[in-house]
């Protein structure tokens, strides 16, 4: 990994290490080294650099909520905002534990997109009515409760390699 100001340039080996870590972050440096035919110390050094730089932000456990037995509902919210207040509203919303994801979008109006969780519909409504609707600049809220999830993945680094190969073939 080479640093250029606040950006890093990764070589193929870095990408391969990241891709393997994304598949299974619990594997050892030796296991990764064996898969890539390199020394475990090389794997260690490269991972250490990426951690220090903040390129690898954290290692996390992905829990299947349904199997925990805790009743939870997920909702996708679209919050239409006064453009002058969007930033301030978004920052306030990030402080709530119920808000899992938050982003802004612009189509005809500026909106905040949020994924929120609650134990039941009553709790969800109460949270929105008491904590979100009163925020200055909130113009409208649309909420859709998720009934069934068909897919949930993060960006897969191996798809980057495939895209790169495709580009080279063209």
């Amino acid at each position: 990994m080479k640093l250029k100001g606040r950006e890093a340039t990764l070589d193929d080996l870095d990408w391969q290490i990241l891709s393997l870590l994304q598949e299974n972050a619990k594997q050892t440096y030796t296991e990764i080294g064996n898969k890539l035919n390199i020394a475990h110390s090389t794997v260690y050094d490269r991972i250490q650099k990426m951690e220090d730089f903040g390129l690898i932000r954290k290692y996390e456990v992905v829990v299947d909520e349904e199997k925990t037995g805790i009743p939870l509902i997920t909702a996708q919210m679209t919050i239409t905002t006064d453009p002058k207040e969007t930033e301030s509203i978004a920052k306030k919303l990030t402080r709530f534990d119920q808000v899992l994801e938050l982003s802004t979008s612009f189509s005809q109006e500026i909106v905040i997109l949020a994924k929120v969780i609650a134990h039941d519909q009553g709790e969800l409504h109460s949270f929105i009515a008491k904590s979100i609707a009163p925020l200055p600049g909130v113009l409208r809220i649309r909420t859709a409760i998720v009934t069934k999830k068909y897919k949930e993945e993060r960006f897969n680094l191996s798809s980057r390699e495939n895209a790169s190969k495709k580009r080279n073939n063209l």
Binding site: A75, T80, H125, A129, I132, A133, R140, R142, I145
Partner: protein, 111 residues
Amino acid sequence: MTVSYSRALRSVLREEAFYFFTSIGNYTGQSAASLDEFLQKIKDIDIKSLEFHLFREDFEKWIAQTLGDNRLAEEIKVLRGQKVVGNALRDRVYFIVSRRLKELKSTSAPK
């Protein structure tokens, strides 16, 4: 039954206002921070919102707990029991609230 007329007629803080929704989590963008404002909103708010809040007992809770007017809350509760819907509901809520508002204003007016 005692009612603090000034409490029932005051404007409340933004976080204590009534926020009109049409269903769980779907906020219309309309709110009322006083009984006066509540009455004005009832005239034009989506009828779905009136039905949603009446069914959930939200009106009577806000009127009793925030404005402290148990008598008006009780009248709304009775209306809920009558299962009125649509524009008939709008007319009935408007009538009940406007009548009470007049009464409160006349009682609290300096003599």
